[in-house]
């Protein structure tokens, strides 16, 4: 297990290295002079040259990358070209907003998705039809559209919630629902598939034959074993969500790292682009690592040598 964990951590480091190289190269392949972006298009060439030098852009690319890595491992991701703010503290300041929304959104996903998935696997007929319809809508509806609809009806027409922005539980509900409803469809499908697979197993028949109640059979025996696939998805999903709920943050004016990354891209703000991409990548691979390491706890049949 320890050897496996070490191998996986090494992969995490390697993945982040690859992401950093690719992002760095892409940032420099774009035909834009960052010094010009800082100085403004009409600043005299002497000012642009001076800024170019101050930013270290006149050094060889590999040299720039190495010094970036050197600073990054010490927690210094530089300062934003546009706002002059330090990159890492800015990301860390924005991260709680994204984390709050991500956790709330994933909870909504799980509650709706898993419950529906179990019900659909067990029940048939009308309920299944309704569920399929829900899954189709959930899969088809874009997040930005659902967000606008919820805002219109539940914040504008019926003013139950604030019209965007942050501040307390009330402000969190609509963005979390937007994330949850669109994402729940996937959980429904995964849970249903996992449950159907398990429900035909011999030990379920045994459990039923022993006279256990249906709820005990489903929840204690079937769902526990079907959960592995859900947990796998949960890890990926949480990592993705933590990495930045870009669309939902934009729709709801939620100042998380998704909007931060989006603004950085719009502004060709290379240090902030590097910072947000690496931070998001780290969260995604870290979430997956944790889930992988948790497998043996969920399913005793899984063991890492």
């Amino acid at each position: 297990m320890a050897a496996y964990a070490l191998r996986r951590i090494a992969w995490v480091v390697f993945t982040l290295f690859l992401v950093s190289v690719i992002t760095f190269l892409i940032a420099f392949v774009v035909p834009v002079n960052p010094a010009r972006v800082v100085a403004g298009p009409n600043a005299p060439q002497s000012v642009v040259n001076s800024i170019y030098h101050q930013l270290g852009l006149d050094r060889p690319l590999y040299d720039q990358y190495l010094s970036f890595v050197d600073r990054a491992v010490h927690g210094d991701f530089g300062r934003s070209y546009r706002t002059q703010e330090e990159v890492l503290p800015t990301i860390l300041q924005r991260f709680p907003y994204t984390a709050e929304l991500a956790v709330a959104g994933v909870i909504v996903e799980l509650v709706i998705g898993v419950t529906t998935g179990i019900v659909v696997a067990v029940k048939r007929g009308f309920v299944e039809g309704i569920s399929n319809l829900f899954v189709l809508i959930g899969l088809a509806i874009p997040q930005f559209w659902l967000g606008i609809i919820l805002l219109f009806f539940l914040a504008y027409k019926i003013p139950l919630f604030p019209l965007g922005g942050t501040g307390g539980l009330k402000a969190l509900i609509l963005p979390a629902l937007t994330f949850g409803i669109t994402g729940a469809a996937f959980y429904t499908r995964m849970t249903r598939a996992g449950m159907l697979e398990v429900l035909n197993e011999d030990y379920i028949r045994t459990a039923k034959a022993k006279g256990l109640s249906q709820s005990a059979v489903i929840l204690k025996h079937a769902f526990r074993n079907a959960m592995r696939v859900v947990v796998t998805m949960f890890g990926m999903d949480l990592g993705y969500a933590l990495g930045g709920l870009l669309v939902i943050e934009e729709v709801f004016g939620w100042p998380g790292i998704g909007t931060l990354a989006w603004q950085a891209v719009q502004n060709q703000d290379i240090p902030m682009i590097m910072g947000t991409v690496l931070f998001a990548s780290f969260l995604i691979v870290a979430a997956n690592l944790v889930i992988d390491l948790l497998y043996p706890l969920l399913d005793p049949r899984v063991a890492y040598d």
């Binding site: 035909p31 834009v32 010009r36 298009p41 009409n42 600043a43 060709q268």
Partner: protein, 561 residues
């Protein structure tokens, strides 16, 4: 100056000393929310919480403002866009400022607006005693000297340094910022002199805009780059909190006392203004209508006409044609645009009314370079009608009966492509095949800088209300290719521009610029397309929100009834 809530901003982006409009302000923001516009339309057709709610509340509650774009800067040396400038104008103090119409000056930290001396080479300002920064430092001659030197210092990375290089020693200081700028003399703690290399009628303009605000040296040096988010000013408001992309809160600076007593330099009329950043335009409008907000910066362009024509919203909409120009340019030093007939054909080929239509009425077609509220605007200029037949015959006369092919460069933000498509369609009707390159603002700037853009759409918004800010910037041959994207070069025009810059008789000077404009238009280096409207959605209970020609929003004038 660009309406560059941007950027864009820059785009957010801001641009340099003389600058280019980086984005279509309101339009872009509106376009970004097209998906939600239908909902707004539905609201406009009868839904909603009632336009009468209007925010309610007592006058003492904070004024709530929303904007989709981030506010780029609060540091006077860095701000160069129409979201930053109102904030800086509210939190810092300049020697002089603009009057209500924007066409004249009133003293602010200075005791009076100085007259030029020594044949226009010298300006001396006397400064009011008693003005202080919020950290207790005095606002004196040294603070103003430091502010200008700081803008000139390349380490500051100020995009507006170019404004101050006509001060004796300014250009040298920008290259090598050591010692003092020779032309800025502290005559006494409250008396400062500026010596200019050559007379310049725009010097006072550059003293009235936010980059010339006094800044406290100790606080700036202590904060370093963080001064931009933790500014220490001396104006009617203080920045209480600034979180980029999220929130900016202004609170009344109780220690600020109106030094001149004029209405333009008033104390803040409200205690607090909260600016929430990152809200989509559709939601912004809904927030104002439902009373959660008082002022929305952005307007969904697709629904502008519908909302404008709804009587319910009549008292909510504030609009004014801004001093901006969008234009079609082509390289006049390259074939086929070296031929005057080809350039003239373009004037007849473009359907400006159609462009205004696709931009939902948020723009006004124009036939000249100077915008309607710019001194020197000439209402007698009629321009050319849309006449593709005439355009085709001109091309035929020029030997291009079978048309030709052009490479066209424009930005890819939401509204630019709409304009480009109209132009592409118009040109195809006269046999010109246009390959459109729709690129990001940063790439666009790089392309323009290289001087290799054959044709495209350019835009300009004023830095200050002086005709030189359009005519000199866009058509002087010394601005090729950065701002003079048409590579237009006319030695007579260059000479007359230089003369107009130093002419002291205002009336005569405007007549000179009108003559220059007519000459440029006769040479057809661009096709003027339209001026943009500044449009805001405002709670009718919020007063003092008249749109200023330079600052747009003057926060210190705002109050709730």
């Amino acid at each position: 100056m660009t309406r560059k809530r941007g950027e864009d901003e820059a785009n957010p982006y801001t641009s340099g000393g003389r600058r280019r409009v980086s984005r279509r302000d309101f339009l872009k923001a509106g376009g970004a929310s097209l998906a939600g516009a239908a909902l707004l339309g539905a609201a406009g057709c009868g839904g909603g919480q009632g336009g009468s709610s209007g925010g309610g509340g007592s006058a003492s509650r904070p004024i709530q403002v929303t904007t989709q774009q981030d506010i780029p800067h609060t540091d006077p040396a860095l701000g160069y866009d129409t979201l930053s400038w109102p904030v800086i104008h509210a939190t810092f103090v300049t020697l002089i400022t603009y009057n209500k119409s924007g066409e004249g000056f009133v003293p602010w930290a200075a005791t009076e607006v100085p007259k030029p001396e020594n044949g226009g080479h010298k300006y001396v300002f006397n400064i009011h005693k008693g003005l202080k920064f919020t950290d207790g430092e005095p606002v004196n001659a040294q603070a103003f000297k430091y502010a200008i030197e700081r803008v000139l210092d390349p380490k500051t990375k100020s995009p507006v340094a170019d404004f101050y290089t006509n001060i004796v020693g300014g250009a040298a200081y920008r290259k090598n910022p050591k010692g003092d700028v020779k032309g800025i003399k502290v005559l006494s703690p409250y008396r400062i002199e500026f010596d200019l290399e050559k007379p310049d009628q725009t010097f006072l303009q550059t003293m009235a805009i936010p980059p010339a605000s006094a800044v406290p040296q100790k606080a700036v040096e202590k904060a370093g780059p963080n001064f931009d988010t933790h500014p220490v000013g001396s104006g009617p408001f203080m920045v209480k909190q600034f979180s980029h992309g999220s929130k900016l809160i202004l609170v009344k600076n109780k220690s600020y006392k109106n030094p001149s007593g004029s209405p333009e330099t008033t104390e803040a009329k409200s205690n607090e203004i909260d600016i929430t950043i990152g809200i989509s335009p559709t939601t912004e409008i809904q927030r104002v209508e439902s009373g959660q907000n008082d002022y929305a910066f952005d307007f969904p362009s697709a629904q502008y006409n519908q909302v404008k024509n709804n009587p319910k919203y009549k008292s909510y909409i504030k609009s004014a044609v801004s001093n901006t120009l969008w234009y079609l340019f082509y390289n006049t030093q390259q074939k086929p645009f070296t031929d005057p007939k080809v350039r003239l054909a373009f004037q007849y080929a473009i359907d400006k009314k159609r462009i205004a239509q696709v931009l939902a009425g948020l723009v006004v077609p124009t036939n000249q370079i100077l915008p309607p509220h710019m001194p020197g605007y000439d209402p007698s200029i009629k321009g050319y009608p849309y006449d593709p037949e005439k355009a085709r015959s001109l091309l035929k006369e020029a030997g291009y009966g079978n048309g030709f092919h052009i490479e066209f460069w424009d930005q890819n933000t939401s509204d630019e492509p709409k304009v480009d498509q109209v132009i592409q369609n118009n040109l195809s009707q006269i046999g010109i095949k246009m390959t459109l390159h729709s690129i990001s603002f940063s790439e666009w700037i790089s392309k323009i800088e290289s001087g290799s853009a054959q044709a495209g759409v350019g835009a300009w918004s004023q830095d200050f209300p002086d005709p030189s800010d359009f005519l000199d910037v866009l058509f002087n041959s010394n601005q090729i290719p950065t701002n003079n994207q048409s590579h237009y070069s006319n030695k007579t025009v260059d000479k007359e521009l230089a003369q107009a810059l130093i002419e002291t008789n205002h009336k005569k000077r405007l007549a000179m610029y009108q003559k220059i404009q007519r000459q440029i238009l006769a040479d057809n280096p661009i096709v003027p397309l339209y001026n943009q409207k500044a449009v805001y959605f405002v709670n009718p209970k919020l007063k003092g929100t008249d749109i200023h020609p330079v600052f747009y929003q003057i926060y210190q004038q705002w109050y709730l009834t």
